[in-house]
């Protein structure tokens, strides 16, 4: 399936905006992604392997944090994963 990489993380995917990986679940696809691009891992996960709080991952239109099976959710070849860091702030 295709994984869309946000601009700041493309430095770790050789500049690729979209990476195609195999995987039967969201977690497997992400594992393939960080296996192919190891430098990406620290930007997505904390030291103990949790998704960083400001990193959001969407399976099509759904935030995987709110899917019942989370990253164990089955995924099809035609599905799309989007990595999208949060945007917030204020004075």
């Amino acid at each position: 399936m295709n994984i869309h990489i946000p601009t700041p993380l493309r430095a770790y995917t050789g500049g690729e905006p979209t990476v195609s990986v195999p995987g039967a679940t969201v977690g497997e696809a992400l594992e393939q992604l960080t296996g192919a691009y190891p430098a990406l891992r620290q930007h997505l996960y904390t030291g103990d392997g949790k998704l960083r709080s400001f990193v959001n991952i969407y399976l099509n239109d759904d935030d995987i944090r709110y899917l019942p099976a989370k990253d164990a959710t089955p995924a099809k070849e035609s599905d799309e994963l989007t990595i999208i860091p949060s945007i917030a702030g204020g004075d």
Partner: protein, 158 residues
Amino acid sequence: MLKLSFAHYEALRAHGEETYPHECCGVLLGSSTAAGNEVREVIAAGNTRIDSLHNRYNIASEELVMIQRQARKLSLDIVGFYHSHPDHPAMWSPTDFAEAHWIGCSYVITSVEKGAAKVTNSFLLTGTGEEDKQFIDEPVEIEMNQQEIATQQPRGTA
């Protein structure tokens, strides 16, 4: 260097006036070049911080996913974001810095005083990650066409 058209510059400032006394926010689509970020589209977004709209902003990640999809269709990238500081200087705040995660992107801030857009500044988020990120002042270049040059004057640049 952040390059954007006069129309886009005026649009993001007008957004801050429309939402005053609340913060506005939006996304800058374009391309990154050796010279800096060049803006081709300005997308206004909703502010989901309804608990503190006067001094906080947040763009829903669902909306960001849609905007990123829109960018792909236009063969553009997300190159920056903008928001307003109602009755507060156009400088990044500790909250802005803590919540900034898009390395290489431009963060544009407009101060809006009593409903009128005043100063607009841009800050480039540099570094390699959370540990060494920093904001640096970024010059803003406003592109004007002949008619705009004859009739308009950009307001609010440092």
